[in-house]
C-alpha cells in the first residue's frame, strides 16, 4: 500500500500547473531582469548596457513624476478604500436595508475597471458633469477635467474609490459579523457610548480584517493600469503616469524595451516587499486557525 503512495505518478498531478508557471512566469521573470541590463528596441540585436537603464530612470523627469504619482495613488487610494469602506460597513450593518445597500456599493466592482474608466471619461468630459458648473456660473470649470495635469490623478483616484469600495465594504461587513456579542454587551452594560464602543471594542476586534484589507489595497494600488490607461493614457505629457503605465509606455509606445524592463523590475521589488508582509500575514493567520 505505502509503495503506491510514493509512486512517481503522484508528480503527474503537479505537472501541468508547474509547467505553466515555469514556462510563463519563471522564465518571464528571469528574461525581464536580464533585459533590464540591455538596450533593445524590439527589432535590432540586444546591446548590453549594464546599469544604464536604471541610471536613465534615475535622471529621467518623467520617471520622477511617475514615481510621485504612484506614491499619491497608494496613499490616497489607501485612505479612501480603507476609511470609507469601514464607515460604510458600520452604517450598512446598522441600516434597515443591508442586502440592498451592499449590492449598490458592490456593483461597480463587478464591472471591469476599463468600463468604469470609460463611463467616467464620458461623465467628466465637457458634455457631462462640468456642464453643471457652467450653469452655476463657473465657466472656467467647463472643460475636460481629465485633461488637466495633476488634477486628473486625484479624479482618477476618486473613480478608483467608486469602483473599489464595494469589495472592501463586504470584507468589513463579514468581519463585523464575526465579532462576538459578549464584549459588545459588556461594554453597553458599563455605559459605553456608541463612539466609545467602536473605538475601544469593535475596531480593535476588527483588526485582522483591517490588516487584510490594508495589505490587499496596498498591493492593488501599485498595480492600477486599466483605468488610468482608458481615462488619460498617462497624459497629458505623461503627467498622470504611474509605474505600471510607464513600463507600458517605455516598452510598447516608445520602443525602449530595456527601460521598460527596468521599470518592471523596480515595480516588482516594491511589490515583493509589500507582498512579504501580506504573505506573512496570510500564513500567520492559517497557522493560528489550524
Amino acid at each position: 500500500m505505502k509503495k503506491i503512495n510514493f509512486a512517481w505518478t503522484n508528480y503527474l498531478y503537479l505537472l501541468p500547473a508547474v509547467l505553466l508557471v515555469a514556462v510563463f512566469f519563471v522564465t518571464s521573470i528571469v528574461y525581464t531582469i536580464r533585459l533590464s541590463f540591455y538596450e533593445y528596441d524590439g527589432f535590432s540585436t540586444m546591446r548590453f548596457v549594464g546599469l544604464e537603464n536604471y541610471l536613465y530612470l534615475f535622471r529621467d523627469a518623467n520617471f520622477k513624476i511617475s514615481l510621485m504619482n504612484t506614491v499619491i495613488w497608494v496613499v490616497f487610494s489607501l485612505l479612501f478604500t480603507l476609511a470609507l469602506p469601514l464607515l460604510l460597513a458600520i452604517l450598512i450593518t446598522n441600516s434597515s436595508w443591508v442586502g440592498g445597500f451592499k449590492n449598490i456599493f458592490y456593483y461597480p466592482t463587478a464591472l471591469s475597471s476599463t468600463i468604469g474608466g470609460i463611463i467616467m471619461v464620458a461623465i467628466l468630459s465637457k458634455y457631462g458633469i462640468p456642464q453643471l458648473f457652467g450653469l452655476l456660473g463657473f465657466e472656467s470649470l467647463v472643460r475636460d477635467w481629465l485633461a488637466i495635469p495633476y488634477v486628473n490623478t486625484f479624479i482618477m483616484i476618486l473613480m478608483g474609490t467608486w469602483q473599489g469600495v464595494g469589495l472592501n465594504t463586504i470584507l468589513f461587513i463579514t468581519g463585523l459579523a464575526t465579532i462576538p456579542d459578549s464584549p459588545i454587551e459588556a461594554a453597553k452594560i458599563e455605559g459605553a457610548r456608541t463612539i466609545q464602543l467602536y473605538n475601544k471594542v469593535i475596531l480593535p476586534l476588527l483588526k485582522p480584517t483591517t490588516v487584510v484589507v490594508l495589505l490587499m489595497s496596498l498591493v492593488n494600488s501599485f498595480k492600477v493600469f486599466d483605468s488610468i490607461w482608458v481615462m488619460t493614457k498617462g497624459g497629458p505629457y505623461r503627467t498622470s503616469e504611474t509605474l505600471a503605465l510607464t513600463m507600458y509606455q517605455e516598452s510598447f509606445i516608445h520602443g525602449k524595451f530595456g527601460v521598460g524592463a527596468a521599470v518592471a523590475v523596480v515595480l516588482t521589488v516594491i511589490i515583493l516587499i509589500v507582498s512579504y508582509f501580506n504573505i506573512r500575514n496570510t500564513f500567520g493567520d492559517t497557522d493560528q486557525t489550524a
Binding site: 498531478y13 508557471v21 512566469f25 471591469s112 463611463i119 467616467m120 498595480k223 518592471a264 523590475v265 496570510t282
Partner: protein
Amino acid sequence: MKQASHGRIVVNAVLIILSILWIFPAVFAVFGTLKKKQEYNLSNFWDLPHGISLAENLKGIAGTFGIVKGMLNSLLYATVSAGAAVIIATLAAYAISHLKIKRPMVWFLFIYSGTIFPFQIFLIPVYKGLTATNLYDTQLGMILFYTAICVPFCMFVLRNYYLGISKEICESAKIDGCNSFQILGHIFVPMSTAPLAVVFLTQFNWVWNELMFGLTFTKSREIRPVMAAITLMDKANVPVILLACVAASIPTLLLFFLLNKHFEAGHAYQSK
C-alpha cells in the same frame, strides 16, 4: 429606544445619498445609450433622450469595431481558460495536500508565486515568446496565457480547502480499492463543488474584464477580447461606446446578481 430609531434614520439617509452617487454612473451610461450621437453632443447630459436610438446604436456596436466578435472571443477565453485552470489547479492542489510527494510546501510556493508578481514583469517576455512560437494574435495563445495566469490563485484556494478534508476518508477509500485518481474524482471533487464554482466564477470574471494582456497580445479584430476592443473604438460616438460598455458588462453583472453568495464566498477566500 427613541434615540436608536433617530440614529437609524440618519444612517439610512446618509446611505441613500451615497447610494445615489454610486448609482449615478450606471444611470448616466444607460441613458447615454439611448441618445443619438448628435443629440448627445448638443444637448445637456441631464436631458432625457428625445427618441430612443437604441436600434441605431446597436448597429453601431455590431459593425466595424468588432464588439460582438470581441464578446464572443472573451466568452471563449473566459470559459475555456477558467475551466482549464480549475482542472489543472484541482490536480495540483490535491497532490500538494494529500498525495505523498517530496517537499509539498516548495511545490505550493512555486505555483503560488504566480500570484505575487506585478503583471508588468510578464508583459515583454510573454509577448516575445508568443511571437516566437507563432501564437501571438491567436486564440490558442490567449487561452494558454489566461489559463496559466488563473492557475496559481485557484490552486491556492483549493489547497486550503483540501487541507481541511481528513486523511481518514482517503485511507478508507484506499482500503476499498480506490486508486488516487478515483479518490480525487469520487471524493474530493464532489466534496468541493462550492469552492470549485467560486474559483471558476472569479477567474471567468477576471478574464472577461482583463485589458492589458488582451491589448498587448492581439492585433486583429478577430482575436481581440472585448475590453481591448472597447478601448479601440471611435471616441467621437459616445452613445455607441456607452452601449458597448453596457453590453460588455451584462455577463459579469448577471453572474454577480445571480450568484451573489458565491461571490461573497470568493471574497472570503481572497482575504484568507
